[in-house]
Each structure stands twice: as C-alpha cells, then as structure tokens.
Symmetry: C2
Subunit: 440 residues, 2 copies
C-alpha cells in the first residue's frame, strides 16, 4: 500500500465517486506472484512470457488410424487394382521404437503415433481392407480381439501424396516461440497450451484472500430467531459471495457487535489471512459507529499510508465510506456502509475493482452500456449526488426495480444492472438514454 | 439416466451434431436437490419457492443517525427559533427495550434502530446541534468518547413530517410474500435476500461432480521429460478447468494408459464421486481405441439405458464420440475424441450443456452471435460436416486463428469464439455473416 489520500479534503467536503475510486486504485498493488500448479492457476494472471521449450508436436505423427507406407508403393492404386503391401507391425501412440517400413511394406499406425522410419505417408484405414481381404472397411478391429491385424497383407484402394495425414513436427508451435504473453488470464485453453508444452507449474499472481466482516449489535445469524430490535446479517453473506465472484478466495467472519475493542482484535486476528479486508456498517455519523471509532485510531502516525480515512461521498446509496490500510503489512481495508443495498453497490463500485487490481487484471470494472429508461414516471435524483438505482436490463432497455431506499434487498435480488444518474441530473424522463452498470 | 439412443443409427450412419446433443440432453436429468448452507449454495439453482416468514424490516426503524421526536414538538422549528427538547437516552441498533419518548423529549437514534415508543418521526443529526448547544453539527460524537451526548438538551433547527426518515415494517418485503421463485440462480444479491429473511440453509440442486480422465499410452504428465513418441497430457487439465467454468466440482484423474482392463477399473473406482464422467481419446477406428473397447462392454444388456454407444458425427473436429451410462447408478459418460482441439470443442458443445442440465439450469448453451468473417481467403469446409473453426471475435467481426487441424492448441489458446460452418456450406467468402459460438 502506498499513501491513501489523493486530495486534502476538508472534513465536510464530499468526495466524488471517481476521486474515491482513484484513491483506492492508486493505493492497491497487484499481489506478488507465486508458482502454482496448472489447475491452481485457473483464472489467474500470468506474470511471465512463457516460451515453447520443445516443438509441438515433438515429432511427425499420424492424424488418422491407418497404414504408414511409401508413396511409390501405392501410386496408382484404385478399387480395381489395389496396392497389396506386407504388414510389418503396429505403430501405436506412445511407441518408443517403431518398426521400419521398407519397400512393399506397411505398418498399421494409430492417430498420434510417430511416423515410422521409412514411411512417407499415411493412408486412412477406410481406404484399405484393414488386412482382412474383403474390400474396404470402416475401422480396425481392436488389437486385443484381432492381434493378427498387425500381420499379413493389406489392400490399399487409393493413392496418397507424400506426408498426407501427417502432422509435421512443430506445426502447432516451434521451440522458442512465445506460447503465452505475460498478462494472459489462464482459462481452459491457455492451461491446455501450457500442459501441451510440458509446463507443470506456472508463475501467476495468486487469487486475493478477502476477509469479510459485518458489524452491528442488531445482527443475528440467519437461521436463528430474531429478538426485539434485531435483524439477520445479510451483508457478510452477500459480500463473501460477491468477492468470490470477483475471483477472490473469500472468508466470511460474520457479524461483530458494536464494540471497538472487539472489532479491533477481530480484525487483528484476521490480518494473517487477508490481502484485503472489507467491513460493513459503523461508518456513518452516529454515536455507535464502531468501525469509524476502532479504525480511525489504527494508523501509525510514523508510517505513511497507515490508518483508515473516513469520507462522505457524493453518492446515493453509499455516502459514508472508509478506505486505508491496517497492520504492519498495510493490508488495504475498505469500510462500507451497513445498509444492504449500500454495501452491495459500494462493493461493485469499489471493492470489486480493488480485488481485480490485486489479481493483476487490467480490466477491473464491470461492463457498462447505454439503455433507454422504461418507467411510468420520471426518476428523481438528489442534486450533487451520483445515484445508482437498481434496474432490470434487457434488449437495450432498463427498468428500475424497487425504489431508492438502501434497505430494499428484495428489489436488489431482482436487478441485473445499476442505473447511473449523474450528479448534475435531478430528473430522468422515461425514454431517456441512461448509463447502466451490468452486474454479473 | 433414461434410454440413450433416439434413433437406430445404422453402423455407418453419421449422427448430426443436433441429434447427438438432443440424445444427451434427453437422457441427462437434473441432480436430486439437497439442503445447503447459503455460501455453499452460491451459483446453484433453487428448487423451491421461498416465502418471506417475517416482514422485512421486522420493525419500524430509523434510516438516519439523529433524534426520534414527536411531530408537534418540532413544528415550525427553524435556525432562528429551534425546538429545544430534553434528551432522554440513546436508541442504538439492536436495542431490545428502547426508551419512551414523551412530549418535549427526544431520544438519540442510530440508523437501523427501532423507532422508540412515543416517537413519531426522526430528525437527522445534521438538523440539530447534537446536544452541544453550539449550532448545527455534522455528526454525533461517538458514545465511548461522549456518553453525555445521550443526556441534556438538543436544539432542532428544522421540522419534519410524521414518519420522516423512518423505514416502515414490511416496506422491503412482507410476511407471506414470495421472496425467490424456484429456478432462481443464487448469486450474491439472492443470497443477501435469503439471509435477510433469516434463511440459514436453502434447498438447491448441488454442483455436479465431474470426473475427467484422458487416455493414451503416449501421455506424460506436464513437468516430466518426454521419451520418444510421447507427448504431454493436456486434455485432462483443459477439461477439468472447463468443467469448473461450467459450474462443476471437477476431479482430474489424469492420463490412463491404453489398456482396457486398467481403464475399466479406473472408471469403476471413480464412480463413487461422479455425477458425470468425461474421457478423452480412444474412441476412433484404430486398433488401440481403448475407451471404445473397454466401455462397449460395460453395459448391462438387461437394463435399458446402460452402456456406452460410440458414434460418428457429421462434425469437424470431433467426429468420433461416445455417450451412454455406466455402473449400477447409470452415471452418464461422455467419451470425447483425443485430439486437444477436438476434445475441447466437444466439451463446449456437449459436456457443458450436460453439466448445466445436471445443475438444473435451463439456459445450458453458450451464447451465439452473428459476425462478419474477416479473412484473406475463403474458408473451406468439408461437405456434409458442420465445421467449428477457432476464431477471435470482436466488434461484430470474427477472424479465424490457426487452421482446421485438430492438434493446433496454440491457436485455440488465442481464440474466444468458434466459427460455425454449416453442413451444406463448402466455402465461406470473406465478409460473409457467419454464426459464432462465444466462449467464456
């Protein structure tokens, strides 16, 4: 973590959404790379250019099941006058020391098996009698049933040019070629290539470990009875799931009561497994805003970039936010507001890009689109705030769901987009083209 | 698994891509549902309508940090003539037994805290002097620093209507409402709603367990030295990763040598943890096609739907394919061809939809689009085969990468789409609009 604040905000100033995001992204650095087994590296970002050590395929090999022969021996062969060749053996895939094919000879060869010495081309088994002497066949008999298929004579009914049905050594990639560039995200096809060129491990940025905890003495674990004044904790579940969706290994700590000392010691306990900490609640202007109270004091005045700064953003929902770093390793921490919709929107706008930056990705934001607003009446939005309303986006249109209330979880669960109403807009008429953030 | 074959194909008949896919999807059934903890259910399909047991919020509560008051007591309050009220205590979030607010009184109230008895509305702290007697404030002092903030008198500088800044009981969802419909895929916002309404567990279809094994005596684990005639196993890595991308819990068994007995016992060993088995290689017309040999005998003639059927598809790459079921539980098995590109394309077309069907999803296919072909020369495609070429798709255009060869892994690793050339098309001119399958 480098220093946090990019502007010396006076206490009552509002930060813009963009200033807060820029502050976060300028402070969060990609994680140090580590060497991982291929399947552990799935979805990770490669940090090295990977070169091809040995050409692929490593040897000339057959692309068909058939017979490896010399070109001259099958020249002019046809249905009526087939070439008849002596079968000298099998060349299976993986054969270390294949039989030699001399003039007038053929070897049964399997897909992927090395072209044996002496052979110049491959005729597919369907162009032959498969050694059975009864006209064209549709396949070979399996070796265990008919080992004699590798002996006797084969009738070939068509000629073939030199190197027909042969995959040349290096025709996929050549030794010294660049296989994958640093920065590549490793999906299944990229892992296929790494495996194919013999790489068992690869140097990538690891998936960030994200610790999620919610705060609030009113919070009860789902599945347990509510007492008076209590509600169920939903933020820690939603944000743990969202962190995983963003590519993190996420740990849900659960709900911590509104006690500064408990919160501070819980966070200190978690530092050992955190590349990023996310809290919800306790960041506003009330007397029980425990995150603000506990973490405003966690900074070390002697060390730049240490401590969490609490801000008010020109944003709805999500006005109160905290960002900074804690602990001797300056682990970044984002303190989100506690209302379920506020915390989820804040996650999408700020935490997801932070996680993806830690992962080494360059494309860190949700995609955005333009869509025509479908609504019965104009949307109202407070002047000077960037509003993010929940909406359903389809076919170039977007329809708001639920209202602006930051406690409306049911509507959030039906939304697939956020409708962005800029700071200087107070009303959006139906039919207007608006910007939408596309969620998952 | 119900019966496999939908048409009595004569041995030499080619199945179409659509017939093979239809056969698979008509035989594969969604997995039996289980009750899972919320975070274990992420990405899963809900199998029950979930109703709201208790209204949300469960009680009227404050949407602001401020003071809970009676409307009449602050009527006409202004900067010059503030209302002065006696502060009778704090109402924190989670408060079980809040203080009563009488005439001329106010209680400090925190966001989310229950509206106390007697109070009719909430004034935000920013509309008051916070009890400090020095004009409007921007927030409360934290309780630990200034417990006296809950006592004394507060000046209120603005009036408020009844129930201002109050979130009404049931304003999010009401008891008896439908929270989530059966069939919903549980992402972070849906998990938020389930948690919010108190559900600790939920009934979903589990993620399918997919066992992936590659076959071939030529295969060597990546990271190990190649001997003559050997290549590195890449299919088991690529398909395990692809199965995970499709939502499965995937197990990579690795490469099995071309020996029918070994393969049969390996598969039998794996049945215990498999909802679906995927093999690569050994399905063609050669003498060493061990999957075909081993599994053609695995069926129980007395039981419908048992056993694996091997077919040739009117498709390039991916002509030889096997599909059926094995073991006493009729676990579905897809036997894919062994060339890396063939197996990957086959996975995308057949295995991914099967995994998603097992998951209970209805939208099982990769999205498709139309794109203008960008190429130096016409694409050639064999008549009677549906060809799937690798391409890079962007901005409504698609450019082929690599050639048609099914061993070209490097090109596959650069592709993000498959270009579909229909069976009756032998040549596609540059600029023609083609169908593309969008990968990942």
């Amino acid at each position: 973590m480098s220093s946090a604040a990019t502007r010396p905000a006076a206490p009552d100033d509002l930060w813009s959404v963009d200033e807060h995001l820029e502050d976060i992204l300028s402070a969060v650095r990609p994680l140090e790379p580590i060497e991982l087994q291929l399947l552990d590296a799935q979805g990770c970002v490669l940090v090295e250019d990977v070169m091809v050590p040995v050409s692929l395929p490593p040897f000339d090999n057959s692309s068909m099941d058939g017979y490896a022969v010399r070109v001259a021996d099958i020249a002019g062969a046809g249905e009526e006058f087939p070439a008849v060749l002596e079968v000298v053996g099998d060349v299976a895939a993986g054969a270390a020391d294949p039989v030699r094919v001399g003039p007038g000879q053929a070897a049964r060869i399997m897909t992927g098996a090395p072209l044996p010495p002496g052979a110049e081309t491959v005729v597919p088994v369907e162009w032959t009698d498969g050694g059975l002497g009864e006209g064209p066949v549709s396949g070979m008999r399996s070796r265990s049933l008919a080992p004699q298929g590798a002996e006797g004579h084969v009738h070939v009914y068509r000629s073939a040019a030199a190197r027909a049905h042969v995959r040349a050594r290096g025709s996929d990639v050549k030794a010294g070629d660049l296989a994958l560039e640093a920065g590549t995200v490793l999906g299944p096809p990229q892992l296929a290539l790494l495996a194919a060129i013999g790489r068992g491990t690869v140097r990538v940025r690891p998936r960030p470990r994200v610790v999620v905890l919610s705060t609030g003495s009113e919070l009860v674990q789902p599945g347990e009875e509510l007492g008076p004044g209590q509600i169920h904790d939903s933020n820690s579940f939603a944000l743990t799931a969202a962190a995983r969706d963003a590519g993190a290994i996420a740990y849900r700590v659960g709900a911590v009561a509104d006690d500064a000392e408990t919160l501070r010691s819980t966070i200190e306990d978690q530092l050992i497994r955190a590349d990023l900490l996310v809290t919800t609640g306790g960041v506003s202007v009330g007397a029980y805003d425990v995150v603000k109270e506990a973490l405003s004091y966690a900074g070390d005045a002697d060390e730049a970039g240490s401590g969490v700064e609490f801000r008010r953003l020109a944003m709805q929902p999500g006005k109160p936010q905290g960002f900074g770093s804690i602990g001797p390793d300056h682990i970044p921490l984002l303190a989100l507001p506690g209302n379920p919709v506020s915390s989820y929107v804040s996650f999408e706008l700020f935490v997801r890009p932070a996680i993806r930056t830690l992962s080494g990705l360059t494309d860190v934001h949700r995609p955005r689109a333009r869509a025509a607003l479908t609504a019965d009446e104009a949307l109202r939005s407070p002047r000077g705030r960037r509003q993010f309303l929940r909406g359903v986006h389809a076919d170039g249109k977007v329809t708001p769901v639920g209202g602006a209330g930051s406690h409306l979880v049911a509507a959030l669960a039906r939304a697939n987009a956020l409708i962005v109403v800029p700071e200087d807009v107070e009303s959006v008429e139906p039919g207007t083209e608006v910007e939408v953030v596309l969620l998952g």
